[in-house]
């Protein structure tokens, strides 16, 4: 099957640039913004913001799986060197966990919205806070892979091909 893919470029990718960091824009923005809307909505009793938060969570749950598909694909082509491997493992583990956690919290939100659309409990707010912290951690691991370890950047791929990263 790999033979059907276009040849890999100087980023070790079959397309110009990494896609995973682009897709995660949406998950990050939606999850964080949903939490912000929940907090403001909870304290100002502006129930319109609860709708904003619900729809952001709904689409974030769909997007996270697209992010994971690209993430797995690009992780598979990253050829991480030894120093980067532990961070990539953590990022993968937390990424898959987040898909389950996000789906569960959105399902909870669906139930809350069906029963009391103008109210959320403080427990749901706490779950939102936990999710925000986990997403922040996940972003930090992803940032390390790109900005510290330079996976899929041209200089690192070049060095890898010249076996300079042993």
């Amino acid at each position: 099957m790999l033979k059907n893919l276009p040849p890999l470029n100087n980023h070790n990718l079959p397309y110009p640039d990494t896609m995973h960091p682009i897709v995660v824009h949406f998950v990050i923005a939606m999850v964080l913004f949903a939490f912000l809307c929940d907090v403001i909505g909870y304290f100002t009793r502006n129930h319109r913001l609860f709708e904003v938060s619900w729809w952001n969570m709904f689409f974030a749950t769909i997007s996270i799986f697209i992010a994971i598909i690209f993430g797995q694909f690009e992780a598979g082509l990253a050829e991480p060197y030894d120093a980067a491997q532990p961070v990539l493992n953590l990022h993968t583990l937390l990424g898959w966990s987040l898909s389950a956690i996000l789906a569960a919290i959105t399902a909870w939100r669906y139930v809350i919205r069906s029963r009391t659309p103008q109210k959320i409990s403080v427990y749901y707010l706490a779950a939102g806070l936990l999710l925000t912290v986990l997403v922040g951690t996940q972003v930090y691991f992803g940032d390390q892979l790109v900005w510290v370890y330079g996976l899929h950047t041209v200089p690192v791929i070049e060095a890898m091909k010249e076996r300079l990263l042993q």
Binding site: H11, H25, A29, V52, F58, G150, T153, P155
Partner: protein, 201 residues
């Protein structure tokens, strides 16, 4: 920026050329792009609601048209607010940038050309996002307050056009990161002839 000027801050900068390990601008960009694109996308869902209605009904999710316009408005507004910080962080980090000099990007541009386009383009995009938000606010609160469809088609088309600009602009930013190695620890270590695999272990 010229290396001697950057050296004035030398004692405070790490291997990536910044006083902190992870650049801030690329993280704020997530919020700028994510919120703006979603803001337009939710407005499009609202405008084409007759198409989505059966899907939401099938999924047993109650959805009203005006909710999507609420989501569209608040997402766009949040994007406009956060983008001031995105641009500020971008300029801070660009003034400390020391890109590789002997390289051309996939678009055939050199580092300085890429930085100039990305820097100036960023200010224009900020202006466009703020302008769109003001336009959106007028539609929401004054011109189309009582309309079923809160947004004009020209607004949505402008939004799609700005997304195209964002794609071009974002790719220039990606080139700075992944081809010129700006503020990338591993890339800057390699440039100094050091082995990141040993130093970052």
């Amino acid at each position: 920026m010229n290396p001697e000027v950057i050296d004035q801050l030398k004692t405070q900068l790490g291997a990536n050329g910044l006083p902190y390990a992870i650049p801030i601008h690329p993280n704020l960009v997530h919020l700028t792009l994510g919120l703006f694109i979603l803001g337009i996308a939710f407005d499009i869902i609202g405008a084409l609601f007759f198409l989505q209605k059966p899907i939401f009904k099938f999924l047993a999710i109650s959805a009203t048209r005006s909710n999507f316009f609420d989501v569209g408005w608040y997402n766009t507004l949040a994007s406009a607010i956060i983008t001031f910080f995105t641009v500020a962080a971008g300029f801070y980090e660009m003034m400390l940038a020391e890109p590789s000099t002997g390289v051309k990007s996939a678009w055939g541009l050199q580092a300085m050309e890429t930085m100039l386009w990305h820097g100036v383009g960023g200010v224009f995009l900020l202006a466009l996002i703020v302008g769109m938000t003001i336009w959106r606010g007028f539609q929401r609160y004054i011109w189309r307050k009582d309309y079923n469809q809160q947004v004009q088609w020209t607004y949505l088309l402008s939004g799609l056009f700005i997304m195209l600009l964002m794609y071009v602009h974002g790719t220039l930013g990606a080139h700075l990161a992944a081809e010129f190695g700006v503020h990338n620890t591993a890339d800057m270590l390699l440039r100094l002839g050091k082995n990141p695999n040993l130093l970052l272990n």
